[in-house]
């Protein structure tokens, strides 16, 4: 087994960036080695009889647990729904596991649970099984939630992070960085004239509508931790292609832009919880974008670039006409944002 570069787990191993990838490829993948896992999608696609089942899990440790535009409960339901939707699945059922710190307020727990119920009612995805553990004070931070879920995928849908083809168009469903900046500003007590809310939202209906245009969508991914930059790098690496994007095409809210400016963040690396990146054949790209814009979670959908053969990197054309590399997130940007 390859040797990791440190002998202790650091926060950066959970950032979704390079260190996370290293941990996965050097510890988890060799240990659990199997063809489903090795695809490195956000969900596994399993065939049971005639059914194609998408299956996924995710844990939520966000701090603070209530933030502008959402809370840990809503996030935990939508996060898992979105991971399922990213392979074109119709999400059906999810589980919920709670790890709660001794002393946590029942009132706050009730708020979290009812927020999950609301998310479940809104999407029609039922929470059908669960588990509760309580740990000593200080052994967890308020509440951690794990959700897992499954959904069904149509036979002719084949969406995977390794299917980007040269000439494909790259689409983002809306403005980037809202979630990361909303959480950070709440945590650090920063206030803006126009408050920034998390974009936390379910994307399964949006994906269904996109698939109604064509089943030939090549890649879908929600750019959560590590942001748009990390997601594009994952697609480029897994597909063995390059991606060229244009800075002026990427939608970013003024307030997010301003917050990133003075905090020293690059919005390309800031997390989203209600956005998706799609890689689609050029001939369908305009129709898909126009369809997306009818959905309330994707009114600002935009083609931001295309897949190229060389260089096999993510390259950004800057607003003033220069070019630069966009690398994967390195180190830790914002701790515990999901």
């Amino acid at each position: 087994m390859a040797i990791l570069k440190t002998d202790k787990i650091l926060l950066s191993h959970g950032s979704g960036g390079k260190a996370s990838h290293e941990l996965i490829s050097e510890l988890f993948l060799p240990a659990f080695d199997n063809p489903f896992l090795n695809q490195l999608n956000d969900q596994a696609l399993l065939e049971v009889g005639d059914l194609r089942i998408a299956y996924t899990t995710d844990s939520y440790v966000i701090d603070p647990i209530f933030f502008p535009g959402g809370d840990i409960g809503k996030l935990s339901v939508y996060g898992t729904i979105n991971d399922l939707a990213m392979c074109g699945a119709t999400p059906l059922y999810i589980s919920a596991g709670f790890i709660i710190e001794e002393g946590f307020s029942i009132d706050e727990l009730r708020k979290v649970v009812y927020s999950m119920k609301q998310a479940s009612d809104l999407t029609g995805v039922k929470i059908v099984t669960g588990d509760t553990k309580v740990v000593n004070k200080g052994h967890a931070d308020k509440i951690f939630i794990n959700t897992s879920g499954f959904g069904l995928v149509d036979k002719d849908v084949n969406i995977s992070v390794n299917r980007a083809k040269v000439g494909d168009k790259v689409i983002i469903s809306g403005s980037i960085g809202d979630h990361g900046i909303a959480v950070l500003s709440k945590r650090e007590g920063l206030y803006f004239d126009s408050p920034i809310e998390s974009d936390c939202a379910p994307l399964s209906d949006l994906v269904k509508e996109m698939l109604s245009v064509t089943k030939c969508i090549h890649c879908l991914r929600d750019p959560t931790r590590g942001g748009l930059a990390t997601t594009l790098n994952e697609i480029a690496q897994q597909s063995g292609v390059g991606i060229m994007i244009e800075e002026t095409k990427i939608p970013i809210k003024e307030a997010v832009k301003a917050a990133c400016e003075f905090l020293g963040y690059d919005p390309l690396y800031v997390a989203n919880e209600g956005k998706l990146v799609a890689v689609v054949p050029e001939e369908y790209s305009l129709e898909i974008v126009s369809k997306m814009r009818d959905n309330k979670y994707a009114v600002d959908a935009q083609i931001i670039g295309e897949v190229v053969s060389e260089p096999k990197r993510v390259i950004l054309k800057t607003s003033i006409g220069g070019v630069r590399i966009v690398d994967m997130l390195s180190g830790e940007l914002l701790p515990r944002i999901c």
Binding site: L10, E254, R313, T318, S319, I320, G321, R324, I325
Partner: protein, 368 residues
């Protein structure tokens, strides 16, 4: 006026660039002194749109990069002491000292907090009266006034558990050291706008007068930087060096008198050891006697365990040469293979404003 999009305007950029191409005749080297400029230049792709006769050299103005190993070792040693909370700015967290980093110490149980402002450190100190809060004070004239103001507040509040490890440095003497070394010929300096928001333009005048090298105090948006370069080229082509201000929307020749007064109240100038550049006379700040009770030196026994110093410095690391502008990152054998932002060997790769990190992250597309 939103102060962002106007300064990223493609048409205006093209106009300035055409102007640069029209008047620039000589082979020249311009040094961007500050790491914020280095990153801004890479992020906007300015290097690959400038004509080939203009080279941009990255200078020593990344505060994290030039903090000496000894100071980082001290911070680590302090963080290991009982009942200590060590507060630091983000980038310092991962910089390796001689034997460890604050990030590794945190994983081992030290209470290290990443803060955005020195005032956050004060809040932590007030909330934890039973603990000693040590602020690692690093940075140039941009951050030292806020640390000075924090120390003054701590004194007014009679806060007894607040200490500072003072590692502050000042910019102009480092520029003088680079010119005096004679290792590199520089035709002009792109000076950091935020530093001059505090110090004004006068502290650079000796550079134009004594060395005949022009300085333009420049903002950080792409249009600012292109305009700053154009102003330097106009000086170079006319043969007349002076100090000029591009960043007029914030900088006055006299700087910010309130901030300067705060700095002068709390700090005095001292010699300082720069990582890569060595000891530079009158290039650092230390606390005045009236504030010495906040200095870690007066309140902590800082012992660096000599057993810990086992890790030899990697002799192939070129950070020193890179900070002086003598070499560029791709010249270093470690760059990009042994030394990456995830496994940094030298400080220029750790700091997000470090030259090596900028080269690695944003790329020298032509040379990769």
């Amino acid at each position: 006026m939103k102060y962002l999009d106007e300064y990223r305007c493609p048409n205006l950029a093209k106009k300035i660039l055409d102007n640069i191409k029209a008047i620039s005749k000589q082979e020249i080297k311009l040094m961007e002194v500050c790491g914020t400029h280095t990153v801004a230049i890479f992020r906007s792709g300015i290097r690959n749109i400038l004509p080939d006769n203009i080279s941009l050299i990255s200078g020593p103005g990344c505060p994290v990069c030039v903090t000496s190993k000894e100071d980082i070792d001290k911070a680590i040693a302090i963080s290991r002491q009982k009942d200590v909370i060590l507060a630091t700015y983000g980038d310092m967290f991962r910089v390796p000292g001689s034997f460890s980093s604050l990030e590794k110490e945190k994983a081992n149980g030290a209470d290290v907090r990443v803060i955005y402002s020195s005032l956050d450190a004060l809040k932590i100190a007030r909330k934890n009266p039973q603990k000693k809060l040590v602020l690692m004070g690093i940075g140039f004239e941009t951050t030292s006034p806020t640390v000075a103001s924090t120390i003054i507040t701590a004194k007014k509040e009679n806060l007894r558990n607040f200490y500072v490890l003072v590692c502050h440095k000042v910019i102009p003497p480092a520029m003088k050291a680079i010119l005096d070394s004679g290792e590199i010929m520089i035709n002009g300096f792109i000076c950091p706008g935020h530093v001059s928001t505090i110090i004004g333009s006068h502290p650079y005048e000796f550079i134009a007068r004594d060395y005949n090298v022009g300085c333009v105090i420049t903002g950080f948006e792409p249009i600012d930087i292109l305009q700053g370069i154009l102003m330097l080229i106009q000086m170079i082509e006319s043969g007349y060096a002076k100090v000029d201000i591009e960043y007029r929307r914030f900088v006055r020749a006299d700087g910010n008198p309130i901030a300067l007064k705060l700095m002068d109240e709390v700090f005095r100038v001292c010699d300082s050891n720069w990582r890569g550049l060595g000891m530079i006379p009158k290039s650092g700040l230390e606390l005045r006697d009236e504030y010495i009770m906040f200095d870690v030196k007066s309140s902590f026994d800082i012992e660096i365990d000599s057993n810990d110093k086992s890790e030899e410095e990697n002799l192939q690391c070129m950070c020193g040469e890179i900070l002086k502008g003598v070499r560029i990152p791709p010249d270093c054998r470690l760059f990009g293979n042994l030394c990456t932002p995830d496994t940094p060997v030298g400080p220029c790769m750790v700091s997000s404003e470090g030259t090596c990190a900028a080269y690695f992250k944003y790329g020298d597309i032509k040379n990769r």
